[in-house]
């Protein structure tokens, strides 16, 4: 049986198999994830005070509060200042303004990979490339006056 197989598998036959094999593995790559994704961006303010002096602020969602608690951050309370939804596709980057001084631009790079560019007062501060599967979260943040903090949360919704 093996001897018979050996005589049948001539170099030309192998080449057909190799081309078929390559097509099999490259096709999913070629067709993968050309669709976009739905994201949610939030601008938060971190503080140790129990309340925010800004009446427009809302306490942050419980799921985000829990995740922030797991990070090496010293603040006990977080308040939501802005929340924006973003539908992003591979075709074009999308920029949203979260406050007068804070913008982010998100680009889908393929699959669950995104590129986030953060602008502070119109100037580019950081560009982060990140896998963001559903349920995961990216947090950009920095210190603010009086031992408080600003945070930008980017969450994949769909």
């Amino acid at each position: 049986m093996m001897a018979a197989m050996r005589t049948q598998l001539k170099p030309g036959g192998w080449m057909v198999w190799v081309v078929a094999f390559c097509c099999l593995f490259t096709a999913p790559v070629l067709l993968a994830d050309t669709a976009g994704m739905k994201l949610e961006a939030q601008l938060l303010w971190g503080t140790n005070d129990a309340t925010s002096p800004n009446p427009k602020h809302k306490p942050v969602d419980e799921d985000i509060r829990k995740k922030l608690k797991e990070l090496p951050l010293k603040w006990t309370n977080y308040f939501e200042e802005t929340r924006k939804s973003l539908d992003v596709t591979e075709a074009a980057a999308k920029r949203v303004t979260l406050s007068d001084r804070c913008d982010i631009e998100v680009k889908v790079l393929g699959g669950s990979k995104i590129e986030v560019t953060h602008f502070g007062k119109g100037e580019k501060v950081v560009k982060q490339t990140q896998n963001l599967p559903k349920g995961e979260m990216l947090v950009l943040g920095g210190n603010a006056p009086n031992s408080t903090a600003w945070l930008v949360i980017l969450k994949r919704v769909e």
């Binding site: 990070l71 090496p72 951050l73 010293k74």
Partner: protein
């Protein structure tokens, strides 16, 4: 070419030569920094044999990763970070490194160190350097791995709280509590030793 032939070159020239595959230059770097790297491993592990093995491993890793050294810090600092990471990995593997838990936080944030009376006299006063060294060694031996690691990273490596939190994978609050506990315990141990000597 042996390391001894490179003894007049500065670290930067030696790193450049070593990056081109010159083992003699690398040997000179080992000779210059070996005590510091071993000392850091010993501070963290408190065991001569483990410290020797880990510092040797750090040097082998450094040779393999030499191309990645970008001169953003000094060679000595780069080497120290390699050995610290190896020690942390080893401590985690040995499970001496407790996972941060609510109990641990409670113990550290509300523990006895808060109630300990503050020492009003310098416990290290009038001690000879050698004697002080010996007492600190005893005190470091008595600290838990978590407390000692925070103390070593802060006092010897001069890392900031947030950097320690990152390498130890815990919160900044835990770093501050552990550091506070470690220092208070160290002060009490030094002062107790002094009292023991007086009696």
């Amino acid at each position: 070419m042996t390391g001894h032939e490179h003894s007049s070159a500065d670290d930067e020239a030696l790193v450049r030569a070593a990056q081109q595959g010159n083992l003699g230059a690398f040997e000179e770097l080992v000779a210059r920094h070996r005590d510091k790297i071993y000392a850091r491993a010993f501070s963290m592990m408190r065991n001569e044999e483990e410290a020797l093995d880990l510092s040797q491993e750090a040097w082998v890793k450094a040779w393999q990763r030499l191309a990645q050294f970008q001169r953003e810090s000094s060679f000595g600092t780069w080497m120290t970070r390699i050995v610290i990471n190896l020690c942390l990995d080893q401590l985690r593997k040995q499970k001496r490194y407790r996972t941060e838990s609510l109990e641990a936080i409670d113990e550290e944030s509300g523990g006895v160190e808060r109630q300990m009376p503050v020492l009003t006299v310098n416990p290290t006063e009038r001690l000879e350097r050698a004697e002080l060294r010996q007492r600190i060694e005893i005190a470091l031996d008595q600290l838990s791995y978590e407390h000692r690691t925070v103390l070593v990273l802060h006092e010897f490596e001069e890392m900031e709280y947030k950097e320690i939190a990152r390498v130890m994978e815990c919160s900044i609050g835990t770093v501050m509590s552990r550091l506070f506990y470690a220092r208070r315990k160290l002060a009490v141990i030094l002062s107790d030793l002094k009292k023991d000597e007086a009696t």
